[in-house]
């Protein structure tokens, strides 16, 4: 068996919830792909904002309002350098990845696409990168195409020749699959899509939190991700786009802060990024996300990715020993992000999750917001264990024991 990865107990201590006991046992949290835990300093950043500087942002002249505005905009600067955007004006705060993709669909796509134009997705998309396009299809009659997924859980690249033609105006795919764990070959996909003149959006909900992502190096056009999946609070997400594209887009939501001049008859829009931030934004949440980015950056995204890959390799090897465990996705750790989705012959995923919960192990069971992908593999549901910087090898040992117990109890 691979030797267990280095113990990172220093990081664990940063997360107060990891002191929590479930049924009198220490919590083993293996559900970070759904939402991660938060280090103390993220909670402190929000509490101290509310207890010291709280006020609405923008246009206020009093001290608190200036402090709040400065802190909110500083968080935007942190996001800007975290993904290496070329300008802070390209970074739009939303609620979550889902809202970011709806913004892309309703603003950019609705303005630029016509009936018959094609948006190219894949069979492995999260509902967040599928349903907004289905809504747009109903609204303006675009066509959706899907890159198929191979039995090993990779995108079927050979299919691109047939799928990619001049009618494709946008390719929108997951950078990392939240079910298969596959890290998709996005450089290749971006180059191919640009080759036919299409724009490219990456659903980076599972990549930005776990590995270095550089939007300029990737040469991508749009990118979406969520704060709550990267040590940040709920209620904050990011939509990033190239400035020239954002500038040409109509607004998404209307209201205060996103306008310049308003009369009863006419409106002009504020400059970027404010044009896309209508109403009072998620101020404390942006500040919390800024603190999360500081935290992740200090550790280093390459270090985090390395830690997760070591854990994944260890887990893959351990799971291979379990008879009847069917893994979804590629079998080598270096093509994968830190999550394992599987079924266990004769044991329903709910019963796996319930058995593990009795041992204080939190995993997810269900379709993980990817029903079409589950249909592709002919299963109604699956179980998923997902890792983050605070996980350690002993937790995977406990997972394996729990899975064996579930088999003993339920399989027949």
């Amino acid at each position: 068996m691979a030797s267990p990865p280095v113990d990172q107990s220093g990081w664990r201590a940063d997360f107060p919830i990891l002191q929590r006991k479930i049924h009198d046992m220490p919590l083993i949290y293996l559900d970070s792909a759904a939402s991660t835990q938060k280090p103390q300093r993220v909670l402190d950043a929000m509490t101290s904002f509310y207890a010291q500087h709280n006020s609405n942002v923008h246009r206020g002249i009093h001290t608190l309002s200036e402090e709040a505005t400065t802190a909110y905009e500083a968080a935007r600067d942190k996001v800007t350098s975290f993904i290496n955007a070329s300008s802070r004006q390209e970074v739009v705060f939303t609620r979550n990845t889902t809202e970011s993709i709806n913004l892309l669909a309703q603003s950019w796509a609705r303005a630029n696409l016509r009936g018959g134009d094609v948006v190219l997705l894949s069979e492995m998309e999260h509902h967040a990168n599928l349903v907004p396009w289905q809504l747009l299809r109903q609204q303006i009659g675009i066509e959706l195409r899907f890159i198929p997924v191979t039995d090993e859980g990779r995108l079927e690249l050979e299919a691109l020749d047939a799928l990619l033609d001049e009618r494709v105006k946008l390719l929108s795919v997951a950078h990392v699959s939240n079910v298969l764990g596959t890290i998709n070959p996005v450089e290749l996909l971006i180059a191919r899509a640009h080759g036919v003149g299409a724009r490219v959006h990456l659903d980076a909900a599972q990549s930005v939190p776990h590995m270095p992502v550089d939007v300029q190096a990737l040469n991508v056009d749009f990118l979406s991700f969520s704060g709550h999946k990267m040590c940040g609070p709920t209620g904050i997400g990011i939509f990033w786009g190239r400035k020239a594209l954002l500038n040409a887009m109509p607004p998404f939501l209307g209201g205060g802060d996103m306008i310049s001049v308003v009369t009863l008859d006419e409106v002009t829009w504020a400059d970027l990024p404010h044009k896309f931030e209508a109403g009072t934004p998620s101020i404390a949440e942006a500040i919390g996300l800024g603190a999360a980015i500081d935290y992740l950056s200090e550790i280093g995204m390459a270090t985090i990715h390395g830690h997760e890959q070591a854990l994944t390799a260890y887990a893959l090897e351990a799971c291979a020993q379990i008879d009847g465990l069917q893994l979804l996705g590629p079998s080598s750790a270096n093509e994968r992000a830190g999550l394992l989705t599987f079924t266990l012959d004769g044991v329903h995923p709910h019963d796996i999750a319930a058995t593990l919960d009795e041992r204080a192990i939190a995993i997810r069971a269900g379709h993980h917001c990817a029903q079409p992908l589950h249909a592709r593999f002919g299963i109604p549901a699956s179980a998923r264990a997902s890792f983050y910087l605070y996980n350690e090898a002993w937790e995977i040992d406990a997972l394996v024991e729990g899975l064996e117990e579930a088999q003993r109890l339920y399989a027949f």
Binding site: P349, H350, A354, G366, Q371, P380, A381, Y410
Partner: protein
Amino acid sequence: MDPLARETIIDYYRNPRNKGHLDAPTVSHEEKNPTCGDVVTIELMIEDGVIQDVRFDGHGCSISQAAASMLTERVMGQSLADVQALDKEAVMEMLGIELGPARLKCALLGLKALKVGAYGLESWDWQRGS
């Protein structure tokens, strides 16, 4: 989970009572939980407002299948009025466990199929089981 309750549930899951089909059911109704793929079908033979015979079929997690099986035993020979009185509490009592929001939907799938099949439903509240 209480070990005894779990043992009973697993027993019903592995050796389901009243699983199968009736020759000529008065009513047959299927309910699905798209979240996890659980499926339960309830078949009823109703005469004079009384359930003369009942079967279930389906697949899914232990809770959904055991609860459906226990339910068939419970309603056998009962009147439709008795069925109407069954709710979330009754199902949790049969199972012998408390249930959180997610598993509640598994546990109540059979009851929903039974009620929709037996007398139709205008609306359904998972929090109440009626």
